[in-house]
């Protein structure tokens, strides 16, 4: 399906070991531009470890990671972001002392064209760029329905909105690839529906490729084009949701009998 040329992100035979413990063994993954890939697996399967080597938190013990054909293994997280990969966190990490607007605005800091002195003296380039950032932040918040709460502290938002804000903040860095770490965790059914809509919206409007780590089968099966299944640090299966669902290895390792239940539901 994806060929060598058009892979946006490619992990080749990556392993990650902490002393004697192998968190990941020989995992390969590729994501095409604009593709929505789901990464699933039972607890402790290595989903977050894979996430962490992709986003520069850990350096893979072995293997290679290519982003747009460039090797990015072991590059620090802030440079990964500047290359075009943005992420959210399993446990929401918003900036608590900043309001909603400011949270989004932090995404522009790494790309500021004016410097420190210009900021202090409030020069022309400062004012014009600050205005640009303000407008763009406003547009993003309005697009994702957060404009009414933009002056609120991020802590005071309802859970679903905090998740949404975290995604908007990541999106404001204009990524080519968005990595979402269990965005549906702790959400109620309504919020999950909203999340699905939000993800669809991001893809249609921004054309961003998405790697989605998720426990919730309904969310993953419903929207992903392709799934990657991990178990005990190894790649178990890849394929379309239907293929993965039918794979006996996957059923044995992860879905068990509840797969039928979920299908029925």
């Amino acid at each position: 399906m994806t060929t060598q040329e058009n892979a946006l992100l490619e992990a080749r035979n990556c392993s990650l070991r902490f002393g004697g413990i192998a968190a990941l063994t020989d995992v390969s993954l590729r994501i095409a531009p604009g593709e929505l890939v789901g990464l699933i697996g039972p607890n402790g399967a290595g989903k977050t470890s894979l996430f962490n080597i992709l986003t520069g938190v850990y350096r893979p013990t072995e293997g290679e990671i290519l982003f747009e054909g460039r090797s990015v293994a072991g590059i620090p997280p802030h440079r990964i972001n500047r290359l075009g990969m943005a992420r959210t966190f399993q446990n929401i990490r918003l900036f608590d002392s900043l309001n909603v607007r400011m949270n989004v605005r932090t995404s522009f800091i790494a790309r500021l064209r004016h410097g420190l002195l210009e900021t202090i003296q409030r020069g022309h380039s400062f004012r014009s760029e600050e205005e640009e950032i303000r407008e763009e932040g406003k547009r993003l918040l309005a697009y994702f329905g957060l404009q009414e709460v933009e002056a609120y502290s991020s802590r005071s938002l309802p859970y679903g909105d905090q998740r949404r804000l975290e995604i908007v903040r990541a999106l404001a860095t204009k990524p080519l690839l968005l990595l979402l770490d269990e965005p549906a965790a702790g959400m109620n059914p309504t919020e999950k529906e909203e999340l699905k809509r939000l993800i669809a919206q991001i893809r249609s409007e921004f054309g961003t490729a998405i790697l989605l780590v998720e426990h919730d089968m309904k969310v993953v099966m419903g929207i992903c084009e392709r799934l990657v299944v991990l178990d005990r640090g190894c790649l178990l299966a890849t394929g379309t949701p239907a293929e993965v669902r039918a794979d006996p290895k996957v059923i044995a390792a992860y879905l068990g009998t509840s797969a039928e239940n979920q299908e029925a539901a």
Binding site: H78, N81, F95, S97, M102, I109, L116, R127
Partner: protein
Amino acid sequence: MALPSGGFLRNNRAVFSAATPFLKNARLGLAAGLGVAVILQSCSGFIDPYTTQVILFAAINVILAVSLNLVMGETGQFSLCHAAFMAVGAYSSALLTGKALPALFPHLSWTGTSLASQLTFLPVLVIGGAMAALVGLIVGGPSLRLRGDYLAMVTLGFGEIIRVLLQNANVVGGARGMEGILPATNLFWAIGSAVLTLYTMIALVRSTYGRGFQAVRDDEIAAAAMGIDTTRVKVTAFVIGAFFAGVAGGLYAHAVEFISPEGFNFLRSFEIIVMVILGGLGRPVGVAIAAILITLLNEWLRDLSEYRMVVYALIIILFMIFRPTESILPFLRRIAPWGKKPPSA
């Protein structure tokens, strides 16, 4: 959309409107502050020397506390060596006015109030600040990769290194200290510098750029994920903080005319930390007010100087018990009989 107007004295965290209202208010504040500096200086003949000295100390403490606030309050890095940066600025500027400048221009008159020393005082202060900033860069570069307690240890150690180095450097008088420094610091320089420092810090923090400091304080991992080079942000805060501490050191040296390594020990750093905590982490105006209050407290407690630190500790403990999250601003507003009561009270 009702945005609160960007008042200069408002809590800087919640309020951020367009750059223009800020500009207007801040420039107004800056102009007013500099005006006060000029006016006080021009009637300095009517102010008795003791009061003058207290005002000078207050202004110097404001610079120290507000600059440490950038490191501790805004960026969340616990630094225990602010007095060491002050020492670097004090010694380097004292060397300039005491040795370098008179040697370079021997035909000019070098006294505290002479034209030559007053005209060269600004570059002297800036060079003193730059030296401190340079030292800040050398210390901060490697140590700011550490966090929390570890960073506190490194900065504590560094502060001691500077003090011991100065104690053993004969060119600056060693443990005896340097005396006979030109009394070039006056109300204009001290208040003017304090106002400029406060303006710079507020202008810096109230910008997209400045939110980077707070983002790093709130969550370093998330900040890095937003593309922010967290080490660089921390080093920047550290270097800017060190620069202003160096300027304060220069002002201090030329105000008291005598400096010794003991004056810049750990207790001095601790005193500045007290001001920042009392004023409210991340609230420059509150910190400036706390710095003034602590200076006055110092004067009142002069007779029981050995017990001063006991009183400090008591104040901090009581403050933390009764107002754990607030800054001094809402606290003052609440205890003042004419003040507006905040809705939470």
